[in-house]
Symmetry: C2
Subunit: 140 residues, 2 copies
DNA sequence: CAATGTCAGATGTATTATGCAACTAACACC
DNA sequence: GGTGTTAGTTGCATAATACATCTGACATTG
């Protein structure tokens, strides 16, 4: 059994490798859509519509960046804007029909990649891995 | 026990969350050094010196990007270049004394962050988590 | 051994994501 | 109602990146 330092080093290295690879593959989700814009779109779906400020806060991005990225999403016809009835300074952003379809398709593709990657994993290992990741991420 | 689909979905979400956070914190390693340049520097140390082409291939970057980033590292005094004795077209890049010190310091800091994060984890859980990550990454 | 094609690296140019600062319009509170 | 705050946009600058091109140095083949 390797000692604790070695094991932590391995986890560090493997997580870093994962992050690097994820970043490199990020742009392949949809033409014209980056990982950030895609994730924003997904967040709008999860929340059932949110404001630009919420996105900025959630993703730790400047509001100007959010503004430009949501402009891209609008130009692509993937979101619709509604004036916030409670605060006329803001707008509610939500995926359009096309946006929802794109999200479904992207989910399907990404999920398929993961399914394939885990075909040889047993149920118990999957459970444990999932639990460890949640435990790790929850600590941030 | 949740079913397999739900578990895989959780893993997917948690790994994506990790990647996003890693990217955001990447720039904090050293002033003037990005995650990419830092990782390049580390790769030079691991390999005991390599060429720009090797870096481009390893990190899936264009050679022009590598050229500019290594120029940054040189400007910061973190690497030294030697003509490749076997092929005078190329150069061997390796960390300078300062570069090695920076890597040690960065390793120490990052490791400390990880150590802290895992203080409450038992040895067996650490082992398993490490193994799962390796298994996952090896499948790429 | 000379010519042609390939490779390593550098540089010019363009694109993209990003942040900061300044601005406008709307809100909130006193 | 006036003053300070907030949501969003836009102007400007910066950084990482890719593609195309250029220059040497290598390699292969006639």
């Amino acid at each position: 059994m390797p000692d604790r330092d070695v094991t932590i080093g391995t986890i560090q290295r493997e997580l870093t490798a994962f992050a690097r690879r994820a970043r490199q593959k990020a742009a392949q989700i949809h033409p014209g859509l980056s990982l950030v814009t895609y994730t924003m779109l997904d967040h709008m779906r999860e929340t059932g519509g949110c404001r630009g400020t919420d996105l900025a806060e959630h993703f730790l991005l400047d509001k100007s960046t959010v503004s430009r990225q949501t402009a891209v999403l609008e130009r692509l016809g993937l979101i619709v804007r509604e004036p916030d009835p409670d605060d006329r300074r803001g707008q509610i952003l939500r995926p359009s029909e096309n946006g929802l379809h794109l999200l479904e398709e992207a989910h399907r593709q990404r999920r398929a990649t993961f399914e394939e990657r885990f075909t040889e994993w047993g149920d118990e290992d999957l459970e444990r891995f999932s639990g460890y990741l949640q435990r790790y991420n929850a600590a941030s």
